[in-house]
Symmetry: C2
Subunit: 328 residues, 2 copies
């Protein structure tokens, strides 16, 4: 009896990777073209007996599909896959597959980035998340549509719903919190404002005027990416993961551009530099970069031993208030 039950409950494990790189101040995610399903997907594949560990399985699949070798890897979340309503607290599983998602960070030479056309900009998928030039005009549109009666899901009254929208999207008097990328995507999904909602319910997408925002991915991969973005935006504040994305030598401006690319908000130059200096995260290599267009910048390298010295090094990036004001 027990044996039969256990046999029946065996499921496939899918390993899915969010592989992130930054180039020229833009954040990218590694994607593959799916043969069977339509559209673009994250690299992924099933766990097979040949894989010695979960991470090894992930590495193997990513390398096979994209030729990209992974360095830094961390687990993101485990999803009960292919749910009819994936955004609810309890997600339905179909007992065929559970997918374990990972976040990987790679530092990539510029030419390789250009060679492979499979690197997709984050902000093509999440246009509203890029506020480096102030909030995108799209946000007002989304805000209005979220407040339209049709969008309101099962929330009791209108005031509470509005407050929830303001809270998550940083509208009204509330500040934008760049870490809430996942919550924002899930709210848009629940409100039917992204393509995936309709696809998952076997409905045709709504009229063009109410067209979904941002490029969509196969299955729930855009949601998984949103999970990775939120995690990464939070993590750079307390762990020096930023340096996994940098080349061996870099200037402080490049470092700041990278932090801004991930966070999606403009940072204050002097304070950013002080933070880096105070925490002793970098040291000068002695060289200078002359291709800056202005005064040459000192080249820096990451000090590997900070991990041993400091309690929890990282960049507590903080928004430039001037830029934030421009927003509202």
């Amino acid at each position: 009896m027990v044996d039969r039950q256990q046999l029946e409950s065996r499921v496939r494990i899918d390993l899915t990777a969010v592989v992130v790189a930054v180039d020229a101040g833009q954040p990218y995610v590694l994607t593959v073209d799916t043969d069977d399903a339509p559209g673009i997907a994250l690299p992924s594949g099933p766990l097979v007996p040949g894989h010695r560990t979960l991470q090894a399985g992930l590495r193997a699949w990513v390398e096979a599909q994209t030729k990209c070798r992974l360095e830094y890897i961390e687990q993101l979340y485990t999803f009960g896959d292919r749910t009819s309503s994936p955004m609810e607290a309890g997600e339905e599983i179909d007992h065929r597959a559970v997918s374990i998602a990972y976040l990987a960070l790679v530092s990539m030479p510029t030419d390789q980035l250009e060679m492979q056309a499979h690197w997709l900009s984050w902000y093509a998928l999440f246009p509203w998340e890029d506020r480096r030039e102030g909030p995108s005009p799209l946000i007002n549109d989304l805000h209005d549509r979220l407040l339209a009666p049709a969008s309101q899901t099962v929330t009791r009254n209108k005031r509470v719903w509005r407050q929830r929208v303001d809270h998550i999207f940083g509208t009204g008097l509330l500040p934008w919190d760049e870490e809430r990328a996942l919550e924002r995507y899930e709210m848009l999904y629940a409100a039917g404002l992204v393509e995936e909602t309709h696809r998952d319910h076997d409905q045709p997408p709504p009229s063009a005027s109410a067209a979904a925002a941002g490029v969509s991915l196969a299955a729930d991969h855009r949601r998984i990416l949103a999970t990775g973005i939120s995690r990464l935006r939070a993590k750079i504040k307390y762990r020096p993961v930023l340096f996994e994305l940098m080349p061996p030598e870099f200037t402080l401006s490049q470092l700041q551009k990278t932090a801004e690319a991930l966070s999606g908000i403009p940072l204050h130059k002097q304070n950013f530099r002080r933070l880096v200096e105070q925490q002793n995260l970098v040291e000068e290599t002695g060289g200078v970069a002359t291709d800056t267009g202005g005064r040459p910048a000192k080249l820096m390298r990451f000090r590997e031993d900070v991990q041993l010295e400091r309690p929890s090094p990282g960049l507590r990036v903080s928004a430039n208030r001037r830029a934030r004001a421009r927003a509202s």
Copy 2:
């Protein structure tokens, strides 16, 4: 071909729960007595087709094994189970089972806690994690044993190893970081200072003088609990999860005692209160608790709507420096 491979790669999913409650200023975890394996274990069981969601499966198993209904649940981590060396970055999997661990918080009336003998104090399992009365004397012993030559694993040189120990255990000049509970357990495991190390390698435990520290659990359950402790200690600082553990009405002292129980460090009374007040986390019920032994305390309740108003409410607990000084 594809089909056969997929068939062979199907594995069992184990759902494991870290169920936490606090009573009388002590943190507890829900455990069960295992029939087959010796010793105490966390509630857990395999995912079966009857389960509509992963969380539903978890709830079902916990309720069946302990009669405890779960409210707040969050996913912790997914482990490649039964590894020969579970503490390495890539964990080996035996392709029979992968276990998904969850953290659950319950608020329990005092009598129920006493009724069920299955609630185990955290600090019976992790004696070194309780520093509410200053650092336990055990820490010096552990520190010495970690610095003994036998403990040093594959680290290159002795200075680096010592720094790593100081870093994780807050010895030397470095401060104690209560959130590093998982890293501490993993270091003790790697150094062979807990029972599980020897059990996992089919070795007899070492001599009594080098006896392992703390009560052990079945399988890798103590590690899973350590993961939960670390997560919880971090999370109370930025999300109001503390209130999931409180009864509907409570005094500010009880709230502080609960925060201290989880964090394992003494907190500063006035600052704790100011923090709670500033963030508008609670409101007075009007009642008072007269069984305080001194002046009666006002009864409070959690303000449910903070979740909507504030960006990210929580208690950024900070150590009382006087107590920390007593430590070193």
